[in-house]
Subunit: 276 residues, 2 copies
Amino acid sequence: MGDRLHRLAERAEISFCVDDLDAAKALFKRFEGIGPKLSVLIEVDSGLKRCELSSEAEVREIAAGIKGMKGLELEGILTHAGHVYSARSPDEVEAIGRAEGELMAAMADGLRSKGIGIKPVSVGSTPTVKHSARVKGVTEVRPGNYVFNNMTQVALDVVPLEFCSLTVLSTMISKPAGDRLIIDAGSKSLSSDRGAHGTQFLDGFRFVKDQGVWISHLSEEHGIIDGCCPGVRIGDRLRIVPNHACTALNLFDRAYLVKGEEVLREITIDARGHSV
Amino acid sequence: MGDRLHRLAERAEISFCVDDLDAAKALFKRFEGIGPKLSVLIEVDSGLKRCELSSEAEVREIAAGIKGMKGLELEGILTHAGHVYSARSPDEVEAIGRAEGELMAAMADGLRSKGIGIKPVSVGSTPTVKHSARVKGVTEVRPGNYVFNNMTQVALDVVPLEFCSLTVLSTMISKPAGDRLIIDAGSKSLSSDRGAHGTQFLDGFRFVKDQGVWISHLSEEHGIIDGCCPGVRIGDRLRIVPNHACTALNLFDRAYLVKGEEVLREITIDARGHSV
């Protein structure tokens, strides 16, 4: 991996996130003396309590450690307010987003006042970003899955349904009872996520865009839709909006940009299958 | 797809399952007059109520329809007792398995007595197969994920933990609090399934084999383990037994056959990404 990263670092800007000096040391050992310096951002906890540091003192300790490692350059701080997926109202989403931005801006001020010259102050999560981005001092946003959106964002009132651009095109393959339809998209095409970060946020299982109903449940290769759609026949196509766009897209090798029925471009999902 | 299937049918035995004459007609249209006959099995409902027919009269109607389609040959009947994943005890698993086998054997007898000459009487699902296979008249078993097993099978008392052969090798990457570990395997490596067929069977999220604890919850690229493992350090490897082997394996391009620490062979996961 080290060699590939170095070749990549020669033609692209690459940053690493660390929350522990042991992780920084592993980077340092691997990259010392070869190639350009590697940018490092320190992860700060804004409530998710995952791979992050809570206090300015802890962040300063990591920053001091990184200073002594010649191959690394401390660039900035970042956070991910993923705990927003447990929010129960738009007001709560806004409050979490504002707190995320304010925490990071204050952390940056504190570090700079002690001579630690960081630049990016980075926040992110799809629901919080429009609130955290407004806080003075925040310089970078990582807006999550805003290109696609999904039913979790709709349920959190982040966007209306018509802002969901990613759908899985399924085929109706069976009608075992009068008001039950079976489609050929299951958990291997839509994922079993009912929210993000393991939350069981949504009661339903993905939305049948063309019919305005939820999928009742998923097998691996089948979706079961109850109480719906007398006009739909075997072979008809139904577009499904996933609960969670990230894990659904991760199940495919290719996606297609479409305008109505016209396919404009095929996209390869390069990163899928590389999470471990 | 038609051409690829035909080439494949020349060198392998291929069967299709149907539960509707419209589906059979679509096959018939595509394959009429070209290549060898295609084998067809009729799906019978044993309780899952998915893509299946409930009564002998319905099965006979499909069988009669298939008889008139020259490219197709009715081979047998099959069922999948996937509703077993809602069972609450080993006794209930056994009862569902026995009923699955008895239903199919009786259905086969009934069809044959009316001159419909079917051969395979096929049953399957990982938990039920050892019970349904014992019923006289059942001629084929589809034993599900018995090669791998997983935490759902352990929870259903189908196998002990040591029979689970599929693990995801993860790395411990952060220790944000004293008794919290973060690993680099999340829902994109383990899937969010908590059972099969959409059941929320398991409370926990995948099992850390080396430490005997459950993962508390999953983000996309992170697993969070609470209350565990003071001796584990950043960089240490942990093997995770998935809740559901099928959807976990479906997330990877490759798997490895290992004996202890030795890698014996790399396997390509050919079928993944082809569910829709």
